[in-house]
């Protein structure tokens, strides 16, 4: 059978005209600075987690597609990207079985069961992470204070958000904002290199590989919400800037919330989605059992995406409200390339 030159794929299609694959590789590229920062901090342990995670993700996707007799799709790079992202929010000491199970659950249950790329209602990376997080006996491996106890890094080895939880905002003097910004804090391998994530994120946004509205609204949402808390009780709640510069917030805003198939397609829904993610993240940080609520905030908002998308479609009086975005005139990737 002669291969077809024209490839039609589901939306959303960014105006860059790049292939899905290109987006995945560019996103990985954008994550390189943060990953390198993590490696400089944790050395070979970080290399181990990252490489194992990428391998597990790719293996999971390859194996499952083999099982259901679908063509192999490793080349599109999205599995590798998932593996990388999961590794970057895990601590460097994560044991191998957690990396394996997190990736398998994320890729198989979170993505491939739904039909693979473009069909997953939730971000597979977050599905994998959340499944590990709710497994109580494993929580210790994800508790940065316990997990990173054996490292000597020259800055306080306490997870800033856990400190905030336990002792309130007054105890945060040991975390100067500048230090946080430079990534000198404990946390996921790549999730704390704030300046590097910001650089990578801006690269994606400026190149048009990620929609700018989601990260912007995300940061704005968390800033406003944490600001309100802060103004209400400055002793108990940390400043908005502290919140922006800790935990998974930056990686969440730029890399996790922008997963194309689990985020809205249209403008207003993107803004609402981003803002609500930020808001929920801060609420969960303040009140839930988890020190960092970013993961669950994004997951919860992922669930609302179909509703958000319908919101605008109806406004436009489009007749096919129920039909997914792929029915918007399918852009042909080759054809749209300019």
């Amino acid at each position: 059978m002669k291969p077809a030159d024209l490839i039609v794929s589901p939306g959303p299609h960014w105006h860059s005209g790049a292939r899905k694959t290109t987006i995945a590789y560019h996103t990985m590229l954008a994550l390189v600075p943060a990953a390198v920062w993590g490696i400089t901090q944790y050395g070979l342990d970080a290399v181990r987690v990252i490489s194992l995670s990428i391998a597990c993700a790719m293996l999971a996707e390859w194996g499952f597609r083999k099982l259901v007799r679908k063509p192999d799709s490793l080349a599109d790079g999205t599995a590798a990207l998932s593996g990388l992202l999961l590794a970057l929010i895990l601590p460097a000491s994560t044991p191998w079985h957690m990396i394996l199970i997190g990736n398998v659950l994320g890729i198989v249950v979170g993505k491939e069961c739904f039909g693979g790329l473009g069909a997953n209602p939730l971000n597979p990376v977050l599905v994998g992470y959340a499944a590990l997080r709710i497994t109580t006996p494993w929580a210790g491996h994800l508790d940065f204070d316990l997990a990173l106890i054996n490292y000597q890094l020259g800055y306080p080895l306490e997870f800033p958000l856990a400190v905030l939880r336990a002792k309130g905002a007054t105890a945060l003097g040991q975390f100067p904002l500048g230090q946080l910004f430079l990534g000198q804090q404990t946390g996921g391998i790549g999730a704390v290199g704030m300046v590097w994530l910001l650089i990578g994120g801006l690269y994606l946004v400026l190149r048009g590989f990620a929609p700018w509205r989601i990260p912007l609204a995300f940061l704005l949402g968390s800033f406003v919400t944490s600001g309100i808390f802060w103004l209400a009780n400055g002793e108990l709640h940390a400043s908005p800037l502290f919140h922006l510069l800790t935990g998974n917030l930056m990686i969440g805003a730029f890399f996790l919330a922008t997963d194309p198939s689990s985020s809205p397609v249209n403008r207003w829904p993107q803004l609402i989605f981003g803002f609500a993610c930020g808001l929920l993240a801060i609420l969960l940080r303040a009140w839930s059992n988890y020190a960092d609520g970013v993961v669950f905030a994004i997951l919860l908002m992922n669930l609302c995406v179909p509703l958000l998308d319908q919101l605008t479609v109806k406004q436009r009086h489009a007749p096919r409200a129920a039909v997914p975005s792929a029915l918007n005139p399918p852009a042909t990737e080759e054809g749209a390339a300019s």
Partner: protein, 716 residues
């Protein structure tokens, strides 16, 4: 213990009383039958009836807006239950199932693009009609399986839908949702009378075969070793496989796509192989036969066309009786074709099989001598098919040459003969001559001179093709009492008992989109320039509808047919009036025009080959079936015509070449080489060769074909 019992007793009582009161207080009158009908309906809310769910359908039934048999999903049983509630009766309908027509999965067919979009055919079809190069191919995303409310469709390994006949209730949801019309509802009846349209996937051989046998289908069955299935596939379209297997000219083989690689597949020898396999079992493989419809039909003529018509009429349950002038059935097959080409035991076996299907035959019955059309109609036959083919047109072998096959219908040969012998022409009062030549004009003038009141010359040819005497002197001829009609064909005849009364004309080559002009005129003698009245079916003319039928022949005829005599309890009084029903013969406005086509030089019969007479036989049945069902008698919407090349493949790739299997030479009689007598039969393929040959078939679709065909040497 006491309080527990009392408590529950009270609670139960209270609840029951409250409900009882509530059912009074909040009583809303509703036709109780609605609930009963609802209970009878399957409750799948499939929408197959056209109403929004079963509740809506029940309401519609009770309010009289819908019929009791509206639920296709529930089938006859449900219809009976509903009818019992409504106090009406329903007739059984033949069960239908969904039928998928595409045989090549997305992975095997050539794509125009790779589709990774929404997994929904309707979405994919929006872009260039789907990802397949083939414009009518299945997109394979399984929308039909998703929408099926009865879970009767699943997607096979090659992404083609597979219908579970047990679960399918023919609700039609898949048919409505499939953007490519891959799925149709069909029944055996449907398939018997089906004519291919360009919307269907047909292989080149299948399209070329006049009867449209599913050739790839039966070769596949042979490849699988299922010879009985192969016979069944053939008999779907052709009831005479033994005969065709020997004497068919096999035009299919000329179109076999394998020619592009090497030699055509031995299609006809394979047919002969399986039909001989059937004969070898000593049994007849008889496919599905519908229950009797209670209607009787007569077929005049027991040749290949008549046998075919009778066979399919029997399968449709219309109780056919063949009337044959000769002492034995077979027509040209028996009395013209030599026994070395067609051994008589083969013919007898084939005919026995047809009679086996429930066909009655009366031999040595000559039309006009032993029986008449009106007599048949009076006897209770509801349709009479004339399949007197080549015999009649040549007037050979016909005992009693004076009898006319049909009252008032004469051959030009008769008139010319009479003229030459200076006998009276006997043109009657209203004479119609179907001829656009000078001979016709000559006869017309002679008839006028003899006292015939009106003479009409009718030809389907356009004016430009006519001799100038006819074309340019039309007005002068009219003054002579001779009307010339060009671009006109005969749509039908009417008669009373043994007399012709009227003739209906229709303009040919009507401009597309315009109703062709129609006209009706009195008639008592019809003269055919040549040929015969092929594919002609005669039936009662409904008494009260007769005057209207003249005004609106097209729409009236089918509509009234449904309320034919059989449905009333008492047989209606018949005043002897009959009419012809126009069966689907040819395409309107082109192609072969049957009765109007002058015979070609050297043509033995009206059909050049048995396979063509089978086609016309089946088309007669199609017409009768549509007539009985009260449908409009028409060709399929986009019929395949001979010239059609929907999409053609001009080269095949990745096909290993191989040689066509040949029948082994008959063993030479002792001493001499290749010296066999004419009586000794030419043998066919043996099983091994047939299986090998069946491997060579590319199993073509419209444009798809097997690209991995290897010569499988290790088969045995």
């Amino acid at each position: 213990m006491l309080e527990a019992t009392l408590f529950l007793l009270l609670l139960g009582l209270t609840m029951a009383i409250i409900l009882a009161i509530a059912s009074r207080v909040f009583y809303v009158w509703e036709d109780p039958r609605i609930i009963e009908v609802m209970d009878a309906l399957p409750g799948a809310n499939c929408g197959g009836c056209g109403y929004a769910g079963c509740a809506a359908a029940a309401e519609a039934i009770v309010s009289g807006k819908a019929e009791a048999s509206i639920c296709v999903a529930g089938g006859f049983e449900t219809a009976q239950m509903v009818a019992a509630v409504m106090g009406v009766s329903v007739e059984a309908k033949e069960p239908q199932i969904a039928w998928t027509s595409c045989t090549y999965g997305v992975g095997d067919a050539d794509p125009i693009y790779t589709y990774n979009g929404a997994r929904d055919c309707r979405a994919a079809a929006l872009l260039y009609g789907g990802s397949k190069l083939c414009p009518i191919g299945c997109i394979g995303l399984g929308t039909c399986a998703k929408v099926c409310p009865f879970d009767a469709i699943r997607m096979g390994a090659d992404n083609l839908p597979i219908v579970d006949p047990q679960k399918c209730v023919a609700c039609g949801t898949c048919v409505r949702e499939c953007p490519k019309d891959i799925i149709t509802l069909t029944s055996s009846t449907h398939r018997i009378v089906h004519e291919y349209s360009t919307d269907e996937c047909t292989a080149p051989c299948q399209r070329t075969c006049p009867t449209g046998i599913n050739i790839p289908g039966y070769i596949r069955a042979i490849r699988n070793g299922d010879y009985a299935e192969a016979v069944r596939v053939i008999k779907e379209k052709c009831p005479l496989p033994l005969i065709c297997g020997r004497i068919c000219p096999a035009p299919c083989e000329l179109e076999c796509r394998r020619i592009l690689a090497d030699e055509p597949v031995a299609i006809n020898p394979l047919k002969r192989f399986v039909s001989e396999y059937e004969m070898g079992t000593g049994q007849h493989i008889q496919p599905y036969k519908a229950a009797s419809s209670g209607k009787r039909t007569a077929v005049i003529g027991g040749g290949s066309e008549g046998l075919t018509a009778a066979y399919y009429l029997a399968r449709l349950g219309h109780d056919p009786t063949i009337f044959e002038a000769m002492p034995e059935l077979g027509g040209i097959l028996r009395y013209v074709i030599t026994a070395d080409r067609l051994p008589r035991e083969v013919l007898d076996h084939e005919i026995a099989g047809i009679l086996d299907m429930g066909v009655e035959a009366r031999t040595a019955q000559v039309l006009g001598r032993d029986f008449s059309i009106s007599g048949l109609l009076e006897e209770g036959f509801e349709a009479v098919a004339l399949t007197i083919g080549g015999f009649d047109s040549r007037k050979i072998l016909r005992p009693g040459a004076d009898e006319q096959p049909l009252a008032g219908v004469r051959l030009m040969f008769d008139l010319l003969d009479a003229q030459a012998r200076e006998r009276p022409l006997e043109g009657g009062r209203h004479l119609v001559i179907i001829d656009g030549g000078l001979k016709g004009l000559e006869l017309a003038r002679a008839a006028r001179a003899e006292g015939t009141e009106t003479v009409t010359l009718v030809t389907h040819r356009p004016a430009d093709d006519l001799p100038s005497e006819l074309r340019d002197y039309r007005r002068e001829l009219a003054a002579e009492g001779i009307t010339v009609k060009w671009r006109t064909r005969v749509r039908g005849l009417r008669g009373v008992r043994e007399k012709l009364t009227r003739i209906d004309y229709e303009e040919v080559d009507a401009i597309a989109g315009l109703e062709p002009e129609r006209e009706s005129a009195p008639l008592d003698t019809l003269v055919l320039a040549a040929g015969r009245l092929p594919e002609l079916v005669i039936a009662h003319e409904p008494i009260e509808e007769a005057p209207q039928a003249e005004a609106q022949p097209q729409s009236q005829a089918p509509a009234t047919a449904g309320e034919g005599p059989a449905e009333t309890d008492e047989p209606p009084a018949w005043d002897g009036r009959w009419r012809t029903i126009e069966t689907f013969r040819t395409l309107p406005g082109g192609g072969e025009m049957g009765i109007f086509t002058p015979p070609e030089p050297g043509r033995v019969s009206d059909s050049e080959a048995v396979i063509k007479s089978i086609l016309s036989g089946r088309r007669i049945v199609r017409g009768i079936q549509q007539f009985f069902a009260g449908e409009a008698i028409a060709s399929p919407p986009h019929p395949v015509v001979e010239a059609d090349t929907v999409l053609d493949v001009d080269a095949v790739h990745h096909v290993a070449t191989s040689h066509r299997e040949r029948a082994p030479l008959p063993h030479p009689t002792a001493g001499t080489e290749n010296d066999w007598t004419a009586e000794e039969e030419v043998p066919g393929l043996d099983e091994e060769a047939a299986r090998r040959e069946s491997q060579r078939c590319l199993a073509c679709g419209l444009i798809c074909y097997r690209k991995d065909v290897q010569e499988e040497k290790a088969l045995f």
